[in-house]
Point group: C2
Chain length 317, copies 2
Amino acid sequence: MNSLIEIAEYLKNTDYSVILTHRYPDGDTLGSAFALCRALRKLGKRSNVIVNGVLTEKFKFLADGMEEQNFEYQTVITVDIASVSLLGDYKEEFENKINVCIDHHAMNTVNADLMFINAKAAANAENIYELIQILGVEIDRFMADCIYTGICTDTGCFKFSNVTPGTMRLAADLMELGCDSERINRVMFDTKSMGRIQMECAVLNTLKLYCGGKIAVISTSLAMEKETGVDDADMDGLAGIPRQIEGVCVGITIKEKAENHYRISVRTLNGINAADICKQLDGGGHHAAAGCSFDGTLEEAAAKILAAAENVLNNQR
Amino acid sequence: MNSLIEIAEYLKNTDYSVILTHRYPDGDTLGSAFALCRALRKLGKRSNVIVNGVLTEKFKFLADGMEEQNFEYQTVITVDIASVSLLGDYKEEFENKINVCIDHHAMNTVNADLMFINAKAAANAENIYELIQILGVEIDRFMADCIYTGICTDTGCFKFSNVTPGTMRLAADLMELGCDSERINRVMFDTKSMGRIQMECAVLNTLKLYCGGKIAVISTSLAMEKETGVDDADMDGLAGIPRQIEGVCVGITIKEKAENHYRISVRTLNGINAADICKQLDGGGHHAAAGCSFDGTLEEAAAKILAAAENVLNNQR
């Protein structure tokens, strides 16, 4: 483990960097990358962000005015990337060339010359904020927007358990630095496509309760996706829906990914271990959020994951 | 206008207070009232909160351990009450006896011996936090929970434009004082009754777009309410749904309140004046949120409010 001071020193003495985001890039990896890239350019360095996949409409403002620079890279930086498998198509080119890794996932397995992992940070963007300050770059409102986006998206707008007093104070600082928190919050949390709204409705129609209302199961099908015209971004967060229902402590979402192939997400409350549920189907994850895959019919998938959930529920009592 | 120091001085020299909340009490009026009541009792004073209506299930924890005390009141305090009409059934008894009014609505019309209105506070609970500090009472975790509840509910979990850097820093302080922000956020923002979920689905089925997708209209009926078994608390916030749709800048919600009697809520974006829309149906409100009533059929109500919205939209261009 290195300190951010060491990383700042290294970045001051190098140039021509590419900053890698993880695949299916979210607000935190993108916010971290564009904030750091802006700071390095302010220091007179050449730096590009490699967006690993599609830069979703709602995240495009993060890249405002950031034209791609033409150079051969000498420095490779990863942000919010817990393992090289998350590099996706860029894995082969970069996995053995990572100079600097800045992340907030406790289980980071990246091999870089310099590593900074701060699992207490609610968002990796918190680490980037600190790094930019150590670099001595004045944080402008564009960087503030990037960092704020990382923080608000990784905390569900300051709602989740990862939020610390430090997170709140950092957000206060960003507001004073001119970030447009109101607009960012609206775009991230109060804007839905018609497709997303129709998808939510369709998904709720599949909702079933089990175990006296303790387990809720929803499912999505490829047909539903086609009918509502949703994209990947629209599908985001659907897995959070079943756990929201009063009395539910195991929320299960079964997504059809291909014919007879399903991806199952499990979200839990009240200390029920989601990873223990998913392990029974050879999956894994965290205590309150885990996942697994299933090959077979929807009915078989539902029966299997329900049995696994009931197992864990019954052993808890 | 008085200062919080004057109000603290007054409260130290008086006793036997009742703290009034507004009717249909929300998280801010209740959080403000129970936090202040707890502080006054810690000072050895007798104090009760008068919950003006039903203490909804999700707010019951605010009153934990706060048994009603038996005394004749000598001091009347209102919190988060902008006008005496919001006293509802308590108006007659109290409207001319208010000693202290603490609020954050700019347009406050209450007549009290001592008035403190701070319209910059996102929630009135921010004012109460400051007052309790001036009173010299140590803020325990119960008070912190009350104040946090007021702030998070009045800001949509730190999402709305009323949030200031001070709001964020105050929330950080409350977390350090032991408030259970995670649980409060989950109860306030991530818990829905089955009835609410069914209601959302039913409401989305009524959604219609007009003006090239700039206006969205949803409606609720008494039959829908009966079928889904929702209560008043479940109906909360439905009016925010149509404005969430991508491209919509006027979101209209038409609620059937009785046969041929409708309550219409208008929410706007992009500088479109909701009050100007509702004025055309003899209603009023704020720039981004306003309301009016309509007597007639649903179709007539929809036609009338749509015409009013189109008027304002066309005059904007």
